[in-house]
Symmetry: C2
Subunit: 294 residues, 2 copies
C-alpha cells in the first residue's frame, strides 16, 4: 500500500502541469496546492487495487486513480468555502480559499472537476490502448454519477440543509452514502471495469465499496470525538461544537465502533470468492479504513 501511495503521489504531481508562463498560472498553482497537500490517497489506491484484483495492469487504472483524487480534492475545496462549511484548516494547512481567495478557490475546484474527466478520457487510451473505449465511457459515467447531484453534491446539499436541525438515521445515512461512499464506490467500480471484471464481479466491488464507504464516515465521526486537531490535520470536535448529528451522538461511542466493525466485516465478505493473494490489498484497505487513527 505504501508503494502504491508513492506511485500515486508521483502520478498526481505529473498530472497537473505547472504552466508558469500561462496567464492563468494562478489557477494551476491553486489546483496543485490542494491536490498535492498530502492526504491518504485512499481513493486512488482503491482504484489500483480493484484493477489488480482482476489482473489488470496498474497503468490502465492510474489515470482514473488520479482523477478520483482530483474529484475528492475538488469537493474539499468547495466544501471548505465560507458559504459552505467555512473551514480554515485542512490536512494541517490553510484551506485553498484562505490562500487564493474564494473566487480562485471556486475556479480551481471547477478546473479539477473538469480535468478529472479529461484525464480519464485522454490518458487511458494513450497509456493502455488495450482497454476497450466503451469500458472507458462506462468509467466516465460511473465517476460522474458519483460526483453530481446523485452523489457528492447531493450529499453536501442535504448536509448543509440539515445543519442545526434534528436529523434521523435515514438522513444521516443518505449524507454518508452520498458525501463519502459514492466516490469510494466509483473508485472501486472503475478500477474493476478497467481491470476487465465481469458485470457480476463489478457489483461485488460496488457492495464492498459501499460498506467501507459508510465505515469510513462512521470512523470519521468517531475520530471527531476521540482525536485531536494535530492528529487529524483539521479542526477536531467540530461536529460536537456545531451540534451536528453523528453516529456517536445517535448511538454512543461504543455502538458506533461496533457498527464500523460490522460494515468492515460485510465489505470483506464480498471478496470471499477471490484468490486471497490478489484480494489481500483490498482486504487490508478495509481494515485500514475501519481501524485508522486519523
Amino acid at each position: 500500500m505504501k508503494d502504491k501511495a508513492v506511485d500515486v503521489e508521483r502520478a498526481l504531481d505529473a498530472s497537473v502541469p505547472r504552466s508558469l508562463d500561462d496567464p492563468a498560472a494562478l489557477v494551476f498553482d491553486s489546483m496543485r496546492y490542494s491536490l498535492l497537500a498530502g492526504g491518504k490517497r485512499v481513493r486512488p489506491i482503491l482504484t489500483l487495487a480493484s484493477c489488480e484484483l482482476f489482473g489488470g495492469p496498474p497503468e490502465a487504472a492510474m489515470p482514473t486513480a488520479c482523477a478520483m483524487e482530483m474529484l475528492h480534492t475538488m469537493s474539499l475545496i468547495h466544501d471548505d468555502l465560507p458559504c459552505m462549511d467555512d473551514d480554515d484548516l485542512r490536512r494541517g494547512s490553510p484551506t485553498n480559499h484562505k490562500v487564493y481567495g474564494d473566487d480562485i478557490a471556486i475556479l480551481a475546484g471547477d478546473a479539477l472537476l473538469t480535468y478529472a474527466f479529461e484525464y480519464i478520457a485522454r490518458e487511458t487510451p494513450r497509456v493502455a490502448p488495450q482497454v476497450p473505449a466503451d469500458r472507458i465511457l462506462r468509467v466516465v459515467v460511473e465517476t460522474a454519477r458519483s460526483v453530481g447531484a446523485d452523489g457528492l453534491v447531493g450529499g453536501q446539499v442535504v448536509d448543509i440543509k440539515s445543519e442545526g436541525q434534528p436529523v434521523g438515521i435515514e438522513t444521516l445515512e443518505y449524507i454518508h452514502e452520498h458525501k463519502t461512499a459514492a466516490l469510494l464506490e466509483s473508485a472501486c467500480v472503475c478500477g474493476a471495469l478497467l481491470g476487465g471484471a465481469s458485470d457480476a464481479d463489478v457489483e461485488k466491488l460496488r457492495k464492498y465499496a459501499l460498506n467501507i464507504g459508510l465505515a469510513f464516515q462512521v470512523v470519521d465521526d468517531i475520530l471527531d470525538v476521540t482525536a485531536t486537531s494535530e492528529e487529524l490535520g483539521k479542526t477536531a470536535a467540530k461536529d460536537l461544537q456545531s451540534d451536528k448529528t453523528t453516529y456517536p451522538k445517535l448511538f454512543g461511542l461504543e455502538r458506533s465502533q461496533e457498527i464500523a466493525a460490522e460494515l468492515i466485516c460485510e465489505a470483506k465478505l464480498q471478496l470471499a470468492g477471490f484468490d486471497p493473494s490478489r484480494a489481500a490489498p483490498l482486504l487490508g484497505l478495509a481494515d485500514y479504513i475501519g481501524y485508522r487513527k486519523n
Copy 2:
C-alpha cells in the same frame, strides 16, 4: 434555426430530472432554474448544425448539444456569484445565487458541470449506437479542455485578475478566446466529430468556431455600450461603469463593428468547400452572431 431551438428546449427539459421526492431535490430545482431560463441556445444549435454538415443524424449530437448548454449555464452561475462578477440579473431574472443562496448555486454549478460529462458518455451510445466509442471519448476530451483551466476557467481567472487594471489587446484576446470562444469551439468540433468528420474537416470547424467566438464577444462588448438592460436581459453599460477594457474602449465603436464583420467573414470562408445547402445553417449562425441585437 427556430426548429432546432425548440428541439433543444425540449431535450434540455428532459435531460435534468425533477426528482421531487429526492432529499437533494433543491439542487435539481436550482439546476433546472438556470438551465431552462431561456437563452439563445447558440452552443447546442452549433453542435447540431456541425453534425448535420457531415450528414450525421441529430440524435447523435443531441446529448452533447445539451451538455454544451449545461456547461455554459454552469459558467454563468459561478461567474455571477458575489465573489466573482457579482451579478443580480441574468436573462431578465434574478441570478441563481439570489434565489437559492451562494452555497446551493455553487453546488448546482458543480452538478451541471459533472452531469454534462455523464450525459455525453451515457446517452450518446444509447441513442446513437452507430457512433464509435472512441469518437465519444474524443468528444469528452474536447469538451473538458474547453471548460477547464485551459478554457472557460482560465479565461475567467485572467478576467478577474485584470479587473481595475489597464489591459492590452493580447490579454483581452486571451480572455475572449478562453471565456467565450473555447466553448463555441468545442460545440462545433464535437458536432463535427459526432457527424463523422475527417480530422482535416474538424480543424476547419475549429477555425470557423474560433472566429465566431471572438466575434461573439466583440459584439457583446459593443452591445454593452449600445443596448439597454431591457434589450439585453442583463445589466447594460456594466463594462463602462466598471471601467473594463473592451473592444469599443480600445478601438472605438466603428472599428469594433468592422472587426466583428471581419471575423464573421473569416469564419464563413472556412465553410467555402462544403455543399452550400448543408453549410447554410452554420453560415446563417455566423451572420446571426455577428449582427445580433441582444
